[in-house]
Amino acid sequence: MSQVYLVGIDCSDCCNRALDYAVSEATAEGAEVIVAHVIEWSPFTFSTADENEQRHKRREAELARAHSEILDPVVDRLKEQGVKVRGVIRHGHIARTLKSLGDEVGATSIVVGRRGDSGFKSHLFGSVPGSLIQIAKVPVTVVP
């Protein structure tokens, strides 16, 4: 069975390390890399009527910006390097969305970075790797 690495990126420094790690592992095994960016979003937030009216338009704008500023440069660079790569952008809860995306594309491994938040802050708000390792069906690698 062919190996598929799913990497979550949010354009921060640590995630470039996660990406670098996944790419080096994947190229060694000849595996595919799926680079994913999740736009934090919840179906249960409260909004004004005006925001709702504009929502579809905003969503399109968010997707376009995420493509042009975050995902596409990364995917293009990897393609030039000859990596077998695909980019995906989704809206949703970051950890849950990465998990279901992993199920969808048949990922054999999920790679994420970490923010290095203090214990207090992650106790209060949780963290993406923390939630992800509890729900993922495949091994999760957290790159420091």
Partner: protein, 512 residues
């Protein structure tokens, strides 16, 4: 350019408002407007005698509609209740559509425009004038009103305008004009007339019940809690009005989304606090609950000492329920139509929860607190409703009036933001979408905030209440012609639902 010019004009008007108030201009405006306001209010609330009680025609109109819709759709208000909840929870929402307006968001937005002073002030008046029995009829009106919302909101989504840039606009103006035009050429003219009538009344209602009434009542509560007539604030309604107008202005004119976002998060929280405090008071007086319920049931059918007897009680309950949940008025259809769905009827199911939460839950809690604490007073002045509810809560939790004041001001604020949107949609339907018309409407809206808070314009308030109820005439009349359309949508969808042809997602799919 327009923006600067109009803002200057607006600042000028704002600074003139207190002067006007001091020079007794409010009385002059009141006198000048009274004949017209009384005429319109008199017409809208024109009543016929029934068993010696004056029954306003508009109430019969709304109640008849709600009953007909309930029967025509075979008790859709109960039948689709569970499915509505599944939709709100997102069981049928495709994860690929994440990031779009969800059923939950459309419902929450509509609710923030509905849950307001009607739930706090109106109910106190109903229970006082109609006795505990009014609660029974209020709940019944809420349950029937669910069917009206179902029809309105389904149509709102079905006939909304979707523009090329991805924004959407919906509401009775659109379903009345587009929907009736679809039926026949003759109805096309009627549809257009009804849509324009609706839009005119909606603009009026947005200045009145959705604005001045809110500013006025929240200021009354603020004065009451800071010491009544002796309060420093007592004669400073204009100041309160200007502060609120500036805050509303920052949101609707200045595009400061932060304030709206904070309010939209705090308001549901305040609603939960209000309901929780009500439940605490109700359960703290556990032994009084059976007596309260028996008072509600016996009072509903045998009204001793209530003006107008049985019919009088019924009218009070129905009237306040209608004013609070706005079922049949058409306003909420504007907010609901922003949802992202290709099955319009799903938003109708979700909209069932609006009168349910507003009337059957929140209004009932207010009523129970007032009945249990025994604070209702048959001689209450209908403009003092908030004060009465405040007393009821105070008798059990002495510091609660302060919390209530914060809740009242926030409810008023969020209702104003919602109604400014409803009014603007109606306004641009009438005058076209342009930057100028947009800013003109919003500036007028802000001026009315100051007027509402600073002046005792009894007839203007009557007039604006009348405008809100007036919206029900064109709205309901047009809906009767569109019932077969809703029926077709409902039958197709319900067949798919019953046959399990609708795709479930997420946890709901794993269970199935």
């Amino acid at each position: 350019m327009y923006l600067t010019r109009i803002s200057t004009f607006f600042v000028f008007l704002l600074s003139a408002a207190p002067l006007m108030a001091q020079q007794g201009v409010d009385e002059r405006i009141n006198e000048a407007i009274r004949p017209y306001a009384d005429g319109v209010a008199g017409f809208i609330f024109s009543s016929f005698p029934l068993a010696g009680v004056a029954v306003p025609f508009v109430l019969v109109w709304l109640l008849a509609a709600a009953t007909i819709f309930t029967l025509y759709f075979k008790f859709i208000n109960f039948r689709a209740f569970k499915h509505g909840f599944q939709l709100v929870r997102g069981d049928y929402t495709d994860p690929m559509a994440a990031g779009e307006v969800t059923h939950f968001q459309a419902l929450a937005t509509a609710l923030s425009g509905t849950v307001g002073l009607g739930n706090i002030a109106g109910v106190a008046v109903a229970v006082s004038l109609g006795g505990p029995g009014a609660t029974f009829w209020m709940i019944l009106a809420g349950l029937l009103g669910m069917s009206s919302k179902f029809v309105e909101c389904t149509l709102g989504v079905k006939y909304r305008n979707e523009y090329t840039d991805g924004t959407v606009s919906g509401g009775p103006m659109y379903y009345l004009s587009k929907g009736l035009a679809e039926r026949s050429d003759k109805l096309k003219v009627l549809g257009k007339v009804l849509a324009v009538m609706f839009a005119v009344f909606c603009v009026g209602g947005s200045f009145g019940g959705g604005n001045m009434f809110q500013a006025n009542q929240s200021f009354q509560q603020l004065v009451a809690v800071t010491g009544g007539q002796a309060s420093w604030l007592a004669d400073k309604g204009w100041l309160f009005g200007i502060i609120i107008a500036i805050l509303v202005g920052l949101v609707i004119l200045g595009g400061i989304k932060g304030i709206a976002r904070v309010t939209s998060k705090i308001v549901p929280f305040m609603a939960v606090i209000y309901v929780a405090a009500g439940l605490i008071i109700i359960f703290a007086n556990f032994s009084a609950i059976p007596a309260a319920f028996s008072a509600i049931f016996t009072g509903a059918f045998s009204a001793e000492g209530v003006a107008g007897g049985f019919i009088g009680v019924l009218i009070q309950g129905f009237r306040r329920a209608a004013f609070s949940n706005e079922a049949g008025i058409g306003s909420a259809a504007i907010a609901h139509s922003a949802v992202r769905t290709n099955r319009p009827v799903t938003e109708g199911f979700v909209a069932l929860y609006e009168p349910f939460i507003d009337t059957v839950v929140v209004c009932t809690i207010t009523a129970l607190v007032i009945v249990i604490t025994g604070t209702w007073d048959p001689n209450v002045d209908p403009s003092q409703g908030v004060a009465l509810t405040s007393q009821a809560f105070e008798s059990a939790i002495p510091w609660f009036p302060w919390v209530l004041t914060v809740a009242v001001v926030l409810f008023a604020f969020s209702t104003m933001i919602s109604w400014s949107y409803y009014g603007l949609k109606a306004w641009t339907y009438l005058f076209g979408e342009s930057r100028f018309m947009d800013v003109l409407y919003k500036s007028m809206f802000l001026v009315f905030v100051v007027i509402g808070a600073s002046m005792q314009l009894g007839s203007v308030i009557d007039f604006s209440d009348a405008m809100i109820f007036a919206m029900a005439f064109p709205n309901v009349l047009g809906i009767y012609f569109l019932l077969p359309v809703v029926k077709r949508e409902l039958n197709e969808y319900w067949a798919d639902y019953k046959a399990g042809r609708l795709q479930k997602f997420g946890a709901a799919a794993d269970k199935a």
